[in-house]
Amino acid sequence: MKCDAIQNRMLDLPNVAELPAELHAHVSGCELCTRFRERARALAADLAVLPAPSSELAKLAFLDSLIAAGPVIRTVPVSLDTGSTSLKDLFRKLPIRPLAGIAAAVLVGTGVWFTLPEPRPPVAKTEAPRHELLKKVVNWNTELAAVSAPKDRVAKLAGLAADLRGEARTLSKSAEKDDMLSLALMYDKVVAQGIVQQAEKMTLFNTPVAERQATIKLAMSELSQTASEVTALVPTASPKVQPLLQRIAKTARDGEARLLKVANGGA
């Protein structure tokens, strides 16, 4: 061991020819170390005369030596299970419960997403619905104010009566008794106090017969249509308004009969 230590110290020396005193004492008395020293000195001398190799070649040689040396840590071969595995066994090994949970969560989430109201762009506030009959009645009043001849008034009043008939038809299934009574009373007024009275005045105003006949025919047609249409509504109407629909139909028939009388010159 001592020789090894001495030889290692000799290799560390820049010039093995010049030994320190403590090494020289051993080397001079040790044949093995003397030979080692001689070899080292010969190698150093040989190396000194060798031409310096190209660094590129040195790198390549170094890489070659590394490749030739192979991996330092080799992969440990895994022993494969060569036993046969069925599809059923494979499914059994799958984590079914977490997968089912995820699938269920996705389905429920999709369902909830569909039920959520869609975000809507802000829209301008829409106006409240207007009652068409009110608008029509206002218009009829405006038009009635503009005419003075009985034949014109009869025509306007017949239009008003037609609109009241339309409202009775619309409300026949949903109206309360008071609502239909209100409509029936309005219809009575328009027919008995309006149409018939103005028709009777036509003779006083000396309305030409042809005009009188045409006006009365128009009004009678309207009243006849009301009588038949409202009568047809009765079976399907709400029971509480059926008598009131019958009343409207009767008003129309009575008005028609009175107009026929006027047409025949009986006013």
Binding site: I96, A104, A128, V138, L144, L157, S174, E176, Q197
Partner: protein
Amino acid sequence: MHRLRFLSTVFALSALALWAGAQAPAQAPLAAEQLKLFQSNRDLLERLVEHGVELANADTPVARVKACHESVKDLGRALRYAAESDDPDRVVELGDYLSNMIQKSLVPSIDDAQKIIPAGTDAEKELLDLTNRAAEDAKNFKQSIPFRGKIGDSTKVDETRTRLANASQSLTERKR
């Protein structure tokens, strides 16, 4: 077996949620809406029809002005009620009817009557009285529309107010 039941339940619930989400919102029942409109306008309609029949039977110019004035008052009272109820849509609807009624019925009727009725008669006196009252009523109806709240914020109400102001001015010009 338990697993299958669990998955089936989840699937069924999800399908139900999808179906429910796909349903369109239920449409408002038309008949019910119509009835509501009729009920809210019933009294006004009864009065307007009554005054419409009066208009049809008006044999004198003054009677016609009177019947027109009654229709104007019907609409004006309903307008005032709508204003008190802070209902801008209703104010616009009734205000437009009112200004139309004044401009297209009452004012022409007054003009016709002033042309026909001889000066110094009781009829003229009655017509003047009616005209003055109609002008005053129109002014009051216009003033019943507030400048604050929902009604005050509505630009459509502003337009209605302007139309009513014009109608009121037309009547004021006919006062003597």
